[in-house]
Subunit: 127 residues, 2 copies
DNA sequence: TATCATAGCGTTCAATTGAACGCATTTTGC
DNA sequence: GCAAAATGCGTTCAATTGAACGCTATGATA
């Protein structure tokens, strides 16, 4: 139950990259960031350090470099983040979020198809 | 273009109430907050003041009390907030968010129906 | 009309966040 | 084998955020 401290915006951004890469050094994360982001090496390093301190990541030394890995399942974190948002934005209801995503943002035809597929499958899990 | 400063978590929570009520005094917002939240009158006042300073709300004096109203369309703000989250969490893609909402959170049968309805209607807006 | 509660206004204060240094220690390319 | 580049580690620093005071004005009530 003991919740780890909430993720700050920038931390989330950086954590996501580690999740995607599975394991990453500071430099690798830096390079995986969108180039417009233009963060300093030291800054990324700081965020990673904080993520470790907060319990989201763990590290493993590999020669000179320190490799960051996820400590909690990403899906779990995603869930917490979205729960929090849902709570503050829509009082916890997810339907209004769907509503918003569909209405105010729009979907391509193929996205609609995929979405229908998801619903079908969820309702009747395929063999 | 000139973006107003991002909403802090607590500010969002408070703004949402003003949106819901349409117009509200400090006390009304305080009372509309979930009771577990247990914020001080002064604290709510501070958040409202900040929301005004950031350009999200405007006020209108009504006798003794100051009434807070929305200055930007709530849907617009919701959009910004979600854009931001989507960006940091899924690189801007909305499908993974749907995926998460459906898979990791689950929906009731009736929610699934409503969702299907939304998709149908979006694709073929009813007369 | 005196009084009391309510609201405003300005401030404060610690914690967190966004961003980046500097120095020491590796590595590695030459 | 040595200079240049890369890393780690500890720090810093201003802005923002979460939370709440204290003092003043004002309006409603007894």
């Amino acid at each position: 139950m003991s919740k780890r401290p909430a993720l700050a915006r920038s931390e989330l951004e950086v954590a996501r990259i580690v999740w995607r890469l599975g394991r990453a050094s500071v430099r690798q994360v830096l390079e995986a960031l969108p180039s417009e982001r233009n963060l300093d090496f030291k800054t990324v390093q700081t965020y990673l350090r904080r993520l470790e301190a907060k319990g989201y990541l763990r590290t493993k030394r590999e020669g000179r470099a320190k490799i960051y890995l996820s400590r909690v399942r990403p899906a779990q974190v995603v869930r917490e983040v979205i729960d929090d948002l849902l709570q503050r934005l829509f009082g916890g209801e997810s339907i209004p979020l769907f509503q918003h995503l569909i209405h105010d943002r729009g979907l391509t035809a193929s996205e609609i198809d995929r979405l229908r597929g998801m619903l079908d499958e969820w309702e009747d899990p395929k063999s």
